[in-house]
Amino acid sequence: MIRFEHVTKEYANGHIALKQVSFELKDGEMAFLTGHSGAGKSTLLKIIALLEDCTVGKVWLGHHAIANIHRHTKPLLRRRMGVILQSPMLFLEQTAYQNVALPLLINGAPTKEIPRRVRAALDKVGLLNKERVLCSNLSLGEQQRTNIARAVVNRPTILLADEPTGNLDPDLANEIIQLFTEFNRIGTNVLIATHNLSLIDESQYRVLHLNQGRLVSN
């Protein structure tokens, strides 16, 4: 469960990115987050991912109020999330395989299980044939899919995706959304920020629409 109560986010330079945002995403719910560029979509996702603090209001992650989470607890909560940021966050000098294996290593997954799970994740995004390729040699779309594979490899309970289909062609984009819905079917909370309205139109999922930091339709 993710709940925002009158959340306002003001950045250090005084820019207000979110204004009085309130909504609740129930356990196992999936939703899209839309709005034009600069509306505050990434900011909202970063607050849930514990990468930014909110200035005013309260955010609940399950029974945790974000403001009260100790900084040593944050990494543990992050291990249960899959976070896909707008800019690829990959080790470019490492292979796709190594990048996807990282969350498993950090979480202390059994060594025997790691190759199987990494390949399963790469397979889901259609990159099994590229597992040995350095990320710097992957196309932007392939990097984005590697990012997605890494986000889902640890079977997260919350999946946050910021423009996950930005560099993908429509067919691939649909496949990725399909992948997210599969995760949602097994109980994962999914929140996807996107400009791509055609993705949303085709789906029956809930849409949160931001306009200049305000939540205008829910």
């Binding site: 991912a49 990282l102 950090i106 202390g108």
Partner: protein, 299 residues
Amino acid sequence: MKNRGLKQLFNILTICLDRITQYRLANLVTVLLLTATLSLPALFWLVTANLNKLSHQWYNSTELSVYLKSDTKNSDIENLMAQLRKNESVADSHYISPEDGLKEMAQQSNLQSVLSTLPNNPLPGVIAIKLKTTENLSEAAKNLQTSLSANPIIETVQIDSLWLQRLQSMLSTLKKLSFILGVLLIIGGILIVSNSIQLMLEKHRHEIAIYQLVGANSLFIRAPFLISGLFIGLIAGMLTWIVVNSILIWLLPNVDNLAALYQTTFQLTDFGFFEGLILCLVSGALGTVGAVVASRHYG
């Protein structure tokens, strides 16, 4: 569960080692800067230690001057001399009569004409005493002084080592100074390391952000930097040890010459294994503290 913890630790150590080697975090410039910073207090300590030793060596030539009352009878003087010859702590003693004293003074000071106009000899009789060398010579000198002071024919007993006492007080000032210098330069060293670790952290911000994103904890993120700080400190400690000992070897002929001039032999206190070990430990701790300070906001 315990197995999983071990597994995790192993994974983390592997990645950590990998990161240290690929970052090449052991920054040479930092090591050299820290070496320069540490060499100064180390040299200061060495100078102090050697002066200290030298002053003890000089104490070994301590003399006492016993000033007699002017109307002392010769028999009393001879009694006292005999008593002194028997005393175990006295190596040598001889009597300088007022006349001898006046002659000596006239020779030494070019005041002959003035001295010859004096109506009578103003000088007292003096017994010069040289003490035997012992561990605690100043103590022995003081003991003899108190025991002699009780004698009614003696005016005063003076220990002729005032300048040595001055050297000693100067030395204690020097020791305080080197302590202050040490503290200041240790703070300086911590700042040097923390500053360079901060630059490294800045350089690897993107990587750190990725590690944070996938749930790495604070220790995982900071470990390579803390270990680098430790290594910077340890290597700088070893280099300092080498630098200081090289300077000593370079100075050694000069010290020997100087000692020969004063017809003494002087063995320079050097920076031995034990001092080197302490230096490395202090320096390693300093590097680690610097890294801890630099990375306190990470993770």
